[in-house]
Amino acid sequence: MSVGVLLLVHTAFDRAEQVARIWADAGCPVVIHVDAKVSGQEFDAFKAALSDLNDVRFCQRHKCVWGMWGLVAATQSAAEVMLAEFDDVRHVYLSSGSCLPLRPIDELRAYLDARPRTDFIESANTAEAPWAVAGLEEERFTLFFPFSWQHRRWSFDWLVDLQRRLGVKRKLPEKLVPHMGSQWWCLTRQTLSAILQDPRRADYDRFFKSVWIPDESYFQTLARLYSTQIESRSLTLSKFDHHGKPHVFYDDHLQLLRRSDCFVARKIWPKADRLYQVFPDNRGEEVNQAGPNPSMIDQLAAKATKRRISGRDGLYMQSRFPDPHFESGVTAAPYSVFQGFSDLFEDFESWLALTSGCKVHGHLFALDRVEFEDRAPVYRGALSDSARARDYNPKSFLTNLIWNTRGERQCFQYGPQDNQANNWLMAKDPNAQISVISGAWAVPLFKSNSNFEDIRRDAAWMQKQEAEFLKVLRSPWIKAKIRIWTMSEFVDAPVEPLQVIVDEIGTYPQNRLTWLPKMTDLTGFGQFVQNLKNQGMHPHLLGEFPVDPQQPSPQTPSRRPYLVQ
């Protein structure tokens, strides 16, 4: 006989009984503490159910409220009974009614026999290693906490606030260095009795009665005074979520639990019949001497916490709807916006698709319809090409598209004639790469067969729209990757900008662009610009175009016709 078990029980008595039997049947004495809040009737029934077991004792009952002293008092009472009544016990294992031994108790006993002087208690110095559950780290020890955080939150918060303002700072009893860690430990008789029989125990108890969550710090701190060999980890597998609530294990965790090689796990859902049926389990091996290795479960818990705290970037759904001011992760993946390129180049979309390997759409925000790749009527995620549906919630449209296509970069054309609702959203989105050839909207007007008066009016309107967009793109709050050229700059030297963009987004590794998109014929464009000016509409976003009609040739970028005076 070497291991004694303290069992803290407050609910699910059928399972608690089952667990007590598992321990007792393996020859471990068990001391049970039942929460004083449990009715006398339930307590008597529970006690009666276990009356056939010789080495099971019940200790004095205390009222246990989460985060309060009662849990420590309960542990102390149970430990005192254990030490007084069972002389053979060398290790005392603190456990609860919702803890379940995963491996045969003999394996635990062998493990402890091989480490007879070791205290297994997670105990981290609060000053050096701030504890995982944020807030109130140092202050747990230096303020007073007479109110329950769970039941009297308002009073709790009020008093903490008041004490902070008054500058309350309790002095720790001499020699104590605050340590914290998992509530579930396994201590040697030597260490545990030293803690319980310390002549200064009354002082320590008085101090810890006003500490917040003392069950995570009382034994963890005091063990440091007496233990000769602390192994700072818990033998009980127990994970917490971001609110400090324990993770619960269900039947579908069976394989994970089995592979963890942990001796005891908490907390088990009381109705997880399969787990209670299977464990403790020896994995079909003769003797398993492996130490606990809960890394898979650690990962599971870490993922869950990450999902709850940061979630999936760019996802908007029923239980994740970031505030408009929440700036990180506007969209799910990088995408590119091209303004003016398809005006200047006749085959820009197909060229970009072939050169970069990305999905290239037309004007997604065109007024009459959504121009999906190949002008599909429906696209990924069953997005409709209806402009009305899109304009009903343009933000959802864009974030949905990017979410639905994650893994494949999306590129789309944009222009002053399109719905401008997402200008700010895109400009503030680090995933957006926005390239603008300003003034290129003049090209379709130049090619159009409209009356000049209409052209003039459209040009003025589009210039105004584009100027608004450029103003957004030049604001100090932008996070997108933005490049802006005037049309004259771009026409002058188109190769390098195209090269830079394709290098940045392309999926194929390549050195130099082997072919360029076909630039539209600009013969007479200079005169067109001059005509606009003559009509009093000054197209300042285009840059300088001389009246002299000369066709630029992007294929031979060394020629710079527009620099000729």
């Binding site: 239980s319 994740r320 409709s384 209806s386 009305r388 549906a389 009903y392 959802s396 979410w403 639905n404």
Partner: protein, 336 residues
């Protein structure tokens, strides 16, 4: 939120509760097994009209999920629905010939029953064509979820309505009583949902899916709301405001995270679109008992004539909850 608006919401809640009490007089108990309800039982509340064909599978599905007692309001069905309910110890039935519309689309009746029988119970409110799924629903009964919600001090749980539909014409495959409707309506729209917030009650307003895509393409604003909060640890002071889309007090609607994280959520698989739907749409359009003057059903009746297929190239075939989790339609949150 100012004192005045808080007070107005309180009045609104009181008004709903008063309405519920008034409309409760329209309900006559047909079969009362509510004495069987034990503390801690999970309850289901449902209003139905001529849905007998769906009952066998519906009851089996929810019994398997772990529902302990069904509270059913029969809005004057004439298709023999009682044959499926009569004598079942876990089902209580009320009958009413009252107007569905005047009872705010059944909400007043349900609020009344919930106030009376569901206080302190986790209560699921669904229609006969809605199937509730949640993370791990294939391995954990609904009590696992509600126990976890209790431990997390969470009083309500969201489950967006996901419209399911068959490939091909709705009338191509005939639904048989007892059959899993998902065998026919296997497809859904994976990523075309639009979301905005309702500043008054704090709930999200979600629209989209095949109904918005096909029936309401030109008037997307009128597309039906898909956000729902069907599972609530009921208290007699609570009331559903508009169907199960929103509740008062408004804190119950705060089922989403605003600062980046994901809360846990489920889905209501909505199997309205079976061969029975064409008939139902005509019937309901004539009955004119639905929201917005039955405009929804009028739109269906009209569109179904010339736009027979909901399926499209980018429809997704339903596999399980994990698929919906990956698609981002629901979330495990911190439940692992």
């Amino acid at each position: 939120m100012g004192l005045w608006s808080t007070y107005k919401l309180r009045l609104r809640r009181k008004r709903y509760l008063l309405r519920a009490r008034r409309k409760a007089r329209q309900l006559t108990s047909v079969q009362d097994h509510t004495a069987q309800i034990k503390p801690g039982d999970t309850l289901l509340v449902c209003t139905l009209y001529n849905e007998a064909i769906r009952m066998p599978y519906f009851l089996r599905y929810y019994r398997d999920l772990g529902i302990d007692h069904f509270l059913i309001i029969d809005n004057d069905s004439d298709d023999g629905v009682m044959d499926h309910l009569e004598g079942q110890p876990d089902i209580s039935v009320w009958h009413t010939a009252g107007s569905y519309k005047a009872a705010r689309f059944g909400v007043d009746w349900m609020n009344a029953l919930q106030r009376r029988y569901c206080h302190g119970h986790w209560t699921l409110v669904v229609d006969p064509d809605e199937f509730f799924i949640y993370p791990f629903c294939d391995s954990r009964p609904i009590q696992a979820l509600t126990d976890w919600l209790d431990a997390a001090n969470q009083r309500s749980f969201p489950a967006m309505l996901l419209d399911m539909y068959p490939k091909g014409h709705l009338t191509d495959q005939a639904y048989q009583s007892g059959q899993d409707p998902l065998e026919i309506a296997q497809w859904f729209d994976p990523g075309n949902y639009t979301i905005s917030t309702n500043p008054q009650l704090g709930n999200l307003w979600i629209q989209g899916g095949p109904r918005a895509r096909v029936f309401f393409e030109d008037v997307p604003k009128n597309a039906p709301a898909l956000n729902k909060t069907p599972l609530v640890k009921w208290d007699r002071s609570y009331a559903y405001a508009s169907s199960t889309h929103s509740l008062v007090p408004r804190g119950l609607n705060k089922v989403y995270e605003e600062w980046g994280g994901e809360k846990t959520s489920g889905i209501l698989l909505h199997t309205k679109f079976l061969d029975t739907f064409t008939e139902k749409a005509k019937e309901e359009a004539a009955r004119n008992q639905h929201y917005a003057g039955g405009a929804e059903y009028a739109a269906y009746a009209k569109a179904l004539k010339d736009h027979p297929e909901l399926w499209c190239e980018w429809s997704e075939k339903y596999i399980n909850w994990r698929q919906l989790e990956i698609l981002g339609l629901m979330s495990k949150g911190s439940w692992a």
